[in-house]
Amino acid sequence: MIPAAFQYSKAGSVREAVAQLREAGPEAKVIAGGQSLIPLLRLRLSQPSHLVDVNGVRELDYVHPEGDHLRVGAMTRHSTLARSELVQRHLPLLAEMAAQVGDPQIRARGTLGGVFAHADAAGDYPTLAVMLDATIVTDRRRVAARDFFQHLFTTALAEDELVCEVVFPMAPGPHRYIKFRRRLYDWAIVGAAVQKMDSGWRVGLTHVGPTAVRAAAVESRLQAGASFTEAASAAADGLEPPSDVRASADYRRHLAQVLTRRALEQAA
């Protein structure tokens, strides 16, 4: 289908983008990679009055190691993250996730910042951000990942606020992301991510609720010396997963446990 009509302008900097959003009013939206927004426009599920295109905001396309953190610009594309040597060295789990987002065509356009702002329950990076306590930096403030994602497709962002950067702790140790899906290019039916840190294991789950989940019960069992199998059996504790055409809530609970165990076993 053909999208409803809208105005369109290009921003060359963060300041310009925010100014254009303000001027265009509350029905205006940012367009980054367009890989989530354009499908919504085509189905007319979204009918913004104005799109501010941030693809020309080059200052937001970077991967910067700084101290023990990795700062990633919002306009960094999935394909860049998947290939980045800096990401592979300092946070290989992010590169592993990026290589599994959608398909090559989606990865060539879609951006890190777009995934955060879109906040799909099946988005992959939010899981990493929540489990590692990442920080989302906007044009005006810093928000902890656990406070940023509020509900399905709902974040702490104001209408005229731009995601600029995500700051992850570096984590070069053993890690694994298992994304369970029926077809290669699909979103996760359920995903399980594990990362060994100096302080112990971090465990996160994708698509088991309206937002990404940190599996704290699994982490504390591992801390207490439980086996991978014992610890992973706590992965579904407290979850209220959705039921949809792909999987029932019960099946998602089952997957959370099985995938967490496998991810721990396979972490390298």
């Binding site: 999208p3 369109y8 499908p39 090559p104 065509q105 290019y185």
Partner: protein, 164 residues
Amino acid sequence: MGQTLRVTVNGEARSDEVEPRLLLVHYLRETCGLTGTHVGCDTSQCGACTVLLDGAAVKSCNMLALQADGAEITTIEGLAPEGGLHPLQTAFWENHGLQCGYCTPGFIMAAAALLAENHDPSDEEIGRGLEGNLCRCTGYVNIRKAVKAAAQAMREGAAAPIGG
């Protein structure tokens, strides 16, 4: 309402006034008259609309035409010189990599991007490289065969035979 789009399509520099909501695929088909790029879905999943944007495979149904401003686009019509066939086109023909042909332009453009990076892809790499494209009738076995044959032909630098 229109805004100016300056873009190079198959080597030809163009300038057109377009509405912001015009999708790149509709620009290519309707404004440029290049109907080899197909529309197979409404959900950005099938890949029939795949073209090269500055060398990278993208789904042209999932971009605004205006987002291609300043870029170079290659469609299936521009892959081979006038009157000739690209080794991928020859290989799809010779290996029966299509039945109805609807998905074929998208597969060939996605495969072209894959082979530009990987001159000798394994079965697994071909599968991953083409995961954004769906075929509803051939099945993927002959498509994979065709991509392998094309990769070999391109490695050997074989001149593309005209007309197969």
